[in-house]
Subunit: 85 residues, 4 copies
């Protein structure tokens, strides 16, 4: 994991702050629907981070593997992520 | 938000611990694919929490609204969550 | 399944037409990425149909079940759909 | 779109048959929840097809583009699919 490291760390810290807010909302007995929306916002932020990490991975590790002839293992790993999404 | 409050708080604290681990993995330049899987595990944990909150919401608030004749607003809110998922 | 039946049938027929197009694209060796986008458009159309059916279901069957005191079974079925989504 | 073409065509024809079944279920006023599950089965079948097409695309077109030095455009297209999923 190299290139956009600071951006990703910053995004993860923001996501963590939003997750803390979910916790406080549950502790304060806030409205269920508002809690779910806040939780979904954390998930959306993590999805965006996954996309940045995966794009970086394709451009670096996967591209290197393909150039070095190790195509199948690199692509298998990417497909496992795609299937889980 | 009433009934399964302690269970939800406990799950959120675990999810927060896993999110901290994502942060440490990024800081330690761990393998991209491992980071994405760890991030997806956090999202899966939050999805499970959403399900618990939503089921509780349907059984309490939505059921009450329907009995009191306020069906449409309660269902509209649930559908907004369903569409965002 | 009552109320918006004609709308749903119409949408399903359009989705079927788009699925036929995916088939013709594969047979004609069209570009992979274009095929996937066309397939995803069919899935998005089916998701929209699911939302219409589910909203109708909540307003009719689920609301009736709750008024009649059969809350849990109706909500369990809705949650199974939500979890699968 | 080359390699697993016959498999993909076969899967699309089965998905089309299942979509026809959704249509017949709606026309016959079958139970909403059963209709949604059948529709979700079609979507799951299309997702599986997308995975086969995408994996084939990564192994052929994307690998070729990377070897020829056209990395960014090929990866951009893959990421657009990933984001839409």
């Amino acid at each position: 994991m190299q290139a956009p490291k600071q951006d990703i760390i910053h995004r993860l810290q923001i996501a963590k702050g939003h997750l803390d807010k979910v916790l406080r909302m549950v502790e304060a007995d806030e409205y269920c629907i508002d809690i779910v929306h806040q939780s979904m916002a954390v998930q959306a932020a993590l999805k965006k981070i996954d996309e940045i990490v995966l794009e970086n991975h394709l451009k670096t590790c996967v591209a290197d593997s393909i150039r070095k002839g190790n195509r199948d293992e690199a692509i298998k790993e990417v497909m496992e992520v795609f299937k889980k999404k």
